[in-house]
């Protein structure tokens, strides 16, 4: 297999990462009709409960938006799921490694 066809994704550059973080924050704010600007979301704040104050219906909505936008199907049957939604940064990390579009 040549290098060109390698299925392993190259690590994203910090600039790409920041752009994706802004984009995902924008998707969350729009999908959930939140009263905050996307750039106001602290990337390390929890998304669930206390932090941004989201609940399981919101998490489902985000999961659907993320699957449409990036082709990532989320699953709840692992410890991983708690980590994915522990912060915007963790969600973006997950999208980077699992996106199919």
């Amino acid at each position: 297999m040549s290098d060109k066809l390698s299925p392993i994704r190259q690590p994203a550059s910090p600039a790409d990462n920041a752009a994706l973080t802004r984009q995902v924050a924008g998707l969350i704010v729009a999908a959930l009709n939140l009263d905050v600007a996307p750039e106001q979301i602290d990337p390390d704040q929890p998304l669930y409960g206390e932090g941004l104050g989201l609940d399981s219906i919101d998490i489902l909505e985000i999961a659907l938006v993320v699957s449409k936008e990036y082709g990532v199907q989320l699953r709840a049957d692992s410890e991983e799921n708690v980590r994915i939604f522990s912060s915007l940064r963790k969600l973006v990390d997950y999208i980077i490694t699992h996106r199919t579009k």
Binding site: A37, P38, G53, S67, A76
Partner: protein, 436 residues
């Protein structure tokens, strides 16, 4: 066989052994908050309570305020949980981790029909939850009717996968009692994401029944995911638009039946929304129009109950549903009333006046859930502190979005607060600037 977990069967003999082992661990008190998330654990807890003369407590939510009221209602209450870290602050009995040894002789407990099996709670309008007793015989009567009305053949043991929690009245009846009474096999899992629902369905044999809600069915459609073949889809908790019902039947090639009920009455009617708007009542249940109200009684219903919906009786045992009484709130299957939520909001120190109201939502949401908004006069509080105080008192699904701080509420000359005036006030408030 009685249940599946992770695709692995659990036998009826194992179930009896698990019940026998758990019952003495529940202590001497009479009330058990059955908080098990795993549906099989919940069923074992429920049966262990019945077998030892205890009552299951099924509150709609576990906020600190509701738990305080629950302790007042039943000071001896303990909590049975399979998540000791996340358990509410009550004396806790963790669900045993290891498998109970099988019993030498299978002894199925015999239960009197008037045995008190559970208390379910509605929020009431004055801040105090109302407890509704459910007796074993009437629960069985209700669910036996459901078996008939859903056209489920007791000789063909269908496997039942549910996306709803076992503690919610609909989930309690249709995902715990229905398999128990109707000879079906229940799945311990409660799949959440569309991919999870597909995976759990694929892990069990046909025929399969999916017990779900409009929120999850919308999510399944939006996820463009394919499901294993289904015998039947059951839906409840909120009205299902006919268009959505048609899409669900076409995509998943299964009949979709919708159930109507309430915490007070249990389930009382069924319809297939793709063929008729008319609901068919459980046989034995009687509806009566009293002025603009509709009351349900007889059959499995414990006592005559005013329904919280506007109904039109169209014939013997048939009716149409014309929406909810204005004060009532139903968000993703959780029910409350504006009066109750307003009472909680105005009980917070620093809140001078405040009101919840319904808003139009024009966004294209995948789950189709619209939240409430609230206006509040609270000059000493900020949004974070007020929301934290509300979170102590009400289920997070009812937290206002948006929460607007105003100088005063648009009360009319009689002190009343028209919903329309609140909506105009909200529309006039500009939203924070948004980037991107």
């Amino acid at each position: 066989m009685l249940a599946y977990r992770g695709g692995e069967p659990i036998s009826a003999a194992q179930f009896l052994a698990d019940v026998h082992r758990l019952a003495p661990l529940l202590g001497a008190g009479r009330h058990v908050l059955n908080a098990c998330a795993d549906r099989y654990h919940f069923l074992v807890g429920f049966a262990a309570c019945l077998a030892s003369g205890k009552v299951n407590l099924l509150p709609p939510t576990h906020t600190p305020e509701v738990l305080r009221q629950l302790r007042r209602f039943a000071p001896d209450a303990i909590c049975l949980t399979d998540d000791p870290q996340g358990a509410p602050p009550l004396p806790c009995v963790p669900f045993p981790r290891n498998i109970a040894p099988l019993l030498p002789v299978m002894n199925v407990p015999q239960l009197e029909t008037d045995r008190l099996a559970a208390y379910v709670f509605t929020s009431g309008s004055t801040g105090t939850p109302v407890a509704h007793p459910k007796t074993w015989g009437r629960l069985v009567d209700c669910v036996s009717q459901e078996v008939v009305q859903l056209g489920l053949d007791a000789n063909v043991a269908a496997t039942l996968v549910a996306t709803v929690p076992p503690q919610h009245m609909y989930g309690f009846e249709s995902s715990v009692l229905l398999p128990l009474v109707g000879g079906m096999v229940l799945c311990a899992e409660r799949p959440f994401y569309p991919a999870d629902i597909a995976a759990v369905l694929a892990s069990v044999p046909r025929p399969r029944v999916l017990v779900s809600t409009p929120v999850h069915l919308r999510a399944l459609l939006a996820a463009s995911i394919s499901l294993p073949s289904l015998r039947l889809i059951v839906c409840s908790t909120a009205p299902l638009p006919q268009q959505l019902a048609t899409e669900v039947e076409e995509r998943f090639e299964a009949q979709l039946l919708e159930i109507y009920g309430s915490t007070e009455t249990g389930q009382i009617a069924v319809r297939r929304p793709t063929t008729t708007a008319e609901w068919r009542l459980w046989s034995g249940v009687h509806l009566e129009a009293r002025g603009s109200e509709t009351w349900a009684q007889n059959g499995h219903i414990e006592q005559p109950t005013r329904l919280c919906d506007v109904l039109e009786l169209t014939g013997e045992g048939r009716f149409l549903l014309h929406g909810r009484v204005a004060d009532l709130v139903n968000i993703a299957g959780k029910r409350s009333s504006l009066a109750y939520l307003n009472h909680q909001l105005n009980s917070i120190a620093g809140v001078q006046d405040g009101a919840f109201f319904h808003v139009e939502d024009t966004r294209s949401s995948h789950t189709g859930v619209t939240r409430l908004a609230a206006c509040v006069v609270a000059p000493q509080l900020d949004a974070a502190r007020l929301l934290a105080a509300l979170r102590e008192r009400i289920d997070p699904v009812f937290l206002p979005r948006p929460l607007l701080f105003v100088a005063r509420l648009p009360r009319n000359s009689t002190g009343k607060l028209p919903q329309e005036a609140l909506r105009s006030l909200a529309a006039g408030k500009s939203k924070p600037a948004r980037a991107g």
